[in-house]
Amino acid sequence: MTTSDHKKDDSRNVLEIEHLTKTFDSRNILEDLSFTVNKGEVFGLLGPNGAGKTTLIRTILDIFRPDAGTISLFGRTFSDEIKDAIGYLPEEGSLDKEIPVAECIRYFAELKHVDAIDRKMDAWLKRLDLTEYRDKKIQELSKGMHRRLQFILAVIHEPDLLILDEPFSGLDPLNTKTLKDILLDLSGKGTTLIMSTHQMDEVERMCDRILMLNEGKMVLYGSLGEIRRQFGLSVEVRYEGTLPHIDHILGINDSGNVAELIVEKDADTQAILKTLVASVTIRKFEVKQRSMNEIFLEVCKR
């Protein structure tokens, strides 16, 4: 199977997981997961530490084998050819510091059967501003440069599916923007991205759909819009006085002069405003969808 073969077949899900369970020492690390990742989408994989994200990624990469359930990639079961169509950027791990940058890229490119390695290597080094380090040893790279080099290794074979584990960790804002632009560019060209991250603002900006895990179980799955609608609205109020009792409120984060009201789904925000106006002086009243950060925290507390 070649890269172009995947791109021709737009109808397929890139990843299809059904009833996946992975157990270690009689403990379910992943429990009956079923979800799909569509071609060309940016898919967010969320969850607190220990939720099972890394195990899920390792299982998708065939490093771990499922105890139950099936994993289908590009409509097929895992094979060497499929492995070559996947790029992976792990969260941690350093490269061999003793070898030059170019040699390292060549090694990983050869493992993925890349042709015209030098041309592609030079293009990526230039794009990620590492050209002058081409022949230098990896130990001479800063943490951010090291991360950018790891990214090159993950994409040099032009994968159809790119799995990124905390892709922006260790990067300064400038490099974060550069990497984000590249990811969006790759996504625009049809590369499917699965992104595991704790940075909820990046999830909101980049992801089309998300899957959230907690203790190995799927707790959220769907598009950002759907999920936000599920969790209702929030109201930010800047006020003077003492907040009264308000109906249809699920919770209040009150900081004294500013309060965030979590309102019930389908609640009448105009009625809430009227109740507030009757009791306190309102300086600001803003109705908004709940942020992914709030949703994440709420789901984790359950």
């Binding site: 390792r58 065939d62 792990p90 350093s94 490269l95 061999d96 003793e98 090694y107 493992l111």
Partner: protein, 397 residues
């Protein structure tokens, strides 16, 4: 062997042979050994013959010493000492009147080094012995025999009672030496393998590598790569050894040497031994939390390689004893014990066949388990892996 395994093998090979440590170990070790041997030979040659080309003076109070080339008589101690201080002689022997009774000599010298001690030099000893023998009316012919070192002609017989030639003796010695070289090669190359895997685990690189190739490809490539490293090292060592032999007076002995079945067996045992030790080392390194701990555990495997030295006395006493037979069948000692036994006695062919078969089966079983242990072990960071977990790794699909 897949293409990816070959890529891994090439990478590991080139990375290792470019290391300063490898170059130093491969070239430096034999050069260092040669220097040590050379110094030993030089020092050995020097002992007892220090004043060989230097004149020795003597004062003879007994009157039995006869002049000889390199020895100058002085009438008294004062004249001798003056000559010594003047540099005319290297040392001065004083033969006291009671010498015949006591055998005690006094030596004056300005050379305070141990090796330059004139009293213990072979030429002085011979000079005095010759004079004593003459004094005791021993004939010159008998004196010569007494003074000449014993130089027996040793004839080694084979089991049929026929004398063996030099080539056959070499045929015994060569595999023995080869076994030692191969043991060193196995240990150094599996040591490199262990360090490579340990470093990858410590730097948490395993997961990234396993996203590029399977555990079997990664492990197979590493083992092949480091086997080539070991082989290169052995080729360099043997080449240097042969070059030294070619330049030595023993070159003639090796000129018609043929590759015997013993040498072939040495090569077979090396290959099998290397694979067994490599797979074991790879598992150990992938399970250990750090390179240092991996090295400590791997020391157990190194112990097996020195078993022939530990059991040398038993080996020489009875190479076909029950214990030696057992160690020939035990896979970790088989490559070393079997080869040494083969150089000493005739080992029943079935023992060699069984020993090689056990090695092959052990490698096959261990390789199947190793890929699973390696895959899971490489992803277990920062903690010691219990035996229970190792069994879980093996059961993992």
């Amino acid at each position: 062997m897949t293409a990816k395994a070959l890529v891994v093998a090439k990478f590991e090979f080139l990375k290792t042979v470019r290391r300063k440590g490898f170059i130093l170990g491969t070239i430096g070790l034999p050069v260092f050994m040669l220097i040590i041997i050379g110094l030993s030979l030089y020092a050995g040659a020097g002992i007892g013959t220090a004043p060989a080309n230097q004149t020795v003076g003597y004062v003879d109070a007994v009157g039995f010493v006869q002049a000889a080339p390199g020895f100058v008589q002085y009438p008294d101690i004062a004249a001798g000492k003056a000559a010594l201080v003047n540099g005319d002689i290297h040392s001065l022997l004083i033969v006291p009147p009671e010498y015949i009774r006591t055998g005690t000599l006094t030596v004056y010298t300005m050379d305070n080094s141990l090796l330059g001690s004139a009293g213990s030099s072979r030429s002085v000893q011979e000079f005095m012995t010759q004079n004593l023998l003459r004094h005791e009316n021993v004939s010159d012919q008998a004196a010569q025999k007494i003074l000449s070192p014993v130089s027996p002609t040793v004839i080694v017989l084979d089991e049929a009672g026929n004398p063996k030639g030099d080539q056959e003796i070499l045929g015994f010695l060569l595999p023995f030496a080869l076994t030692m070289v191969l043991a060193l090669g196995i240990l150094t190359s599996s040591g490199y393998l262990m360090q490579g895997i340990g470093e990858e685990k410590e730097s948490r690189r395993g997961e990234f590598l396993l996203s590029h190739c399977s555990a079997e490809e990664l492990l197979g490539g590493k083992i092949l790569g480091y086997a080539c490293v070991g082989l290169l090292q052995i080729v360099v060592w043997v080449t240097i050894g042969l070059a030294v032999i070619a330049a030595s007076p023993f070159a003639q002995l090796f000129s018609e040497l043929q590759v015997t079945w013993l040498v072939c067996l040495a090569v077979i045992y090396f290959i099998l031994g290397y694979f067994l030790f490599s797979v074991s080392t790879a598992c150990t390194a992938s399970l250990a939390p750090s390179v240092r701990e991996a090295q400590q555990v791997s020391a157990i495997f190194s112990m097996f390689a020195v078993f022939p030295l530990i059991f040398l006395q038993f080996l020489l006493q009875d190479p076909n004893s029950l214990m030696m037979q057992f160690l020939t069948y035990f896979p970790y000692t088989a490559p070393f014990i079997a080869m040494v036994r083969l150089t000493l006695v005739t080992v029943p062919p079935y023992e060699i066949v069984v020993s090689i078969a056990v090695l092959i089966i052990s490698i096959a079983v261990l390789t199947r388990l190793a890929a699973r242990i390696f895959r899971m072990g490489m992803l277990t960071y920062g903690k010691r892996v219990s035996f229970r977990e190792v069994f879980r790794f093996i059961r993992e699909k």
